[in-house]
Amino acid sequence: MKKLINAPESAVDEELAGMVAAHGDLIRVIEPNVVVRVDAPRQGKVGVISGGGSGHEPMHGGYVGMGMLDAACPGAVFTSPVPDQMLAATTAVNGGAGVLHIVKNYTGDIMNFELAAEMARAEGIEVSSVVIADDVAVKDSLYTAGRRGVGGTVLAEKIVGAAAEAGADLATVTALCQKVQDNVRSMGMALTSCTVPAAGKPTFELGEDEMEIGIGIHGEPGRTRMKLATADEITEMLAMPILDDLPFRQGDSVLAFVNGMGGTPLMELYIVFNKLSQILKGRGVSIGRSFVGNWITSLEMAGCSITLLRLDDELTRFWDAPVKTPALRWGI
């Protein structure tokens, strides 16, 4: 294992210390490992928090700041945080208008956030939760833990954060988050595995001519392993199930998000975007907004995911609204 770390046990703590050293104007870190917006709580503003395992950076800590998250709870690498973190986050950002939990649909995340929400309610804080479950690679939700929350989470955090910043109340913010969830679909693939620092070796092994289609963001293997294909073929394999699922229709305008899993050069993401734009054109779907980069990652995994969000004026307006976080910043 080759990593720029000192020890697996201290990696997340040192990462957070580094984030504060770099972005102390935007964030602070409180016990037990919660990244909080520097000016939280803001009276009368709905708090928006999220969290999940570490290793997906810049998600979530990189999205804490004006116009996006009020706090993020980073767990151990690929491990859902614990309820104490979500409770501390909820308490820290509660400005009296309630707190929204944006939860990715994983067994661990769901259970830990549920426990935290119960505790927060017991303390008199109004809490609502929206579960993001946008990964179309997971089928038959009857026989699975249900669709995973992947790329759509980043979009939800941005859009919902903007609404909360604009003063929307908890019910409105919650409904907006659900609207994002209802209109977003994703799918991902891997060219290589990643290595969890504490595990010390790659989570799975892939042959030099193999790839995994339908992976999540935790280095878990996908549904199918197949021979390596071209970027165009891979883009088709990811885009088609997404387009058919909602389904996206002729005339729709979408936010097209091509995401790198951490170890994929931007060059390759733009090659995928190029093909994706052709596929969308062929379907009569227009690209209203674009988003390309390593925004929700699996450590150093090579691979990509595609996320499409069906836009309307409201979603577009909140996507465009100013944001100022360590990772995402515009308009201010």
Binding site: P32, G53, G75, A76, V77, F78, T79, S80, P81, V82, P83, D84, Y106, T107, G108, M111, N112, E114, L115, A137, V138, K139, D140, Y143, T144, A145, R148, V196, A198, A199, K201, T203, F204, G214, G216, H218, G219, E220, P221, R223
Partner: protein, 222 residues
């Protein structure tokens, strides 16, 4: 502990310590199992939690079995995260509730506590037998313990049958297709691999059987 019918506070602490030591020894193995059908962290998660849990035991005020279990449960909830944190946390919290205020417990207490612990896990995780989870070790173990208790087996014998059933249940997860947890994303590809959580659950019950056999009441082994 041939003939012993009661499990003391020290026995309980010994169980927890043995389980923590087992997890430490099997950390890489559990993580490797989780690599195959999950995200390669189960051993790491459980080890982090159990080390934190045993660190707190010496500081507990009273020799209250229930309080010890509750401390373990709360510590697991607060330090493990992932799916196993709330689930094992619940296991011990329910064990604690079922044994609150007791200085020692018997096989019937273990029976009731295990019932409550499993019910808690199912309430939270909504999994059933055959979903390829820790329940596939816990459920047959509970049934075996019930049956042993009803048939009048000794505590030692009952615990041995419980551990044996847990082991069988764990092994039987291998061919299953997962329907809950992270492994379910793999669909058919999850078959052919032993479930990590069922494995740690077997280790948990095996640690109980091992620790409580041969230990006379009030005597912690090793």
């Amino acid at each position: 502990m041939s003939g012993a019918t009661s499990i003391s506070y020290d026995d309980v602490v010994a169980w927890i310590n043995t389980f923590a030591a087992t997890i430490r020894a099997q950390k890489d193995y559990l993580t490797a199992l989780d690599s195959a059908i999950g995200d390669a962290d189960h051993g790491i998660n459980m080890d982090r939690g159990m080390q934190a849990a045993i660190a707190k035991l010496p500081g507990l005020p009273a020799r209250d079995v229930g309080a010890a279990f509750k401390s373990v449960g709360m510590t697991l909830v607060s330090t493990v995260g992932g799916a196993s944190g709330p689930l094992y946390g619940t296991f011990f919290l329910q064990f604690g509730t079922a044994t609150a205020g007791r200085e020692s417990i018997g096989v019937d207490d273990v029976n009731r506590a295990l019932d409550a612990a499993i019910a808690g896990i199912q309430r939270l995780g909504k999994a059933e037998a055959g979903d390829k989870t820790m329940l596939d070790a816990l459920l047959p173990a509970r049934d075996a313990l019930h049956a042993a208790a009803e048939s009048g087996a000794s505590l030692e014998e009952a615990l041995a049958r419980m551990a044996e059933a847990a082991e069988q249940g764990m092994l039987a997860t291998t061919p299953l297709v997962a329907r809950k947890g992270r492994a379910s994303y793999l669909g058919e590809r999850s078959a052919g691999h032993q479930d990590p959580g069922a494995t740690s659950s077997y280790l948990l019950l095996k640690a109980a059987a091992d620790t409580w056999s041969g230990s006379a009441s009030g005597e912690a082994p090793g």
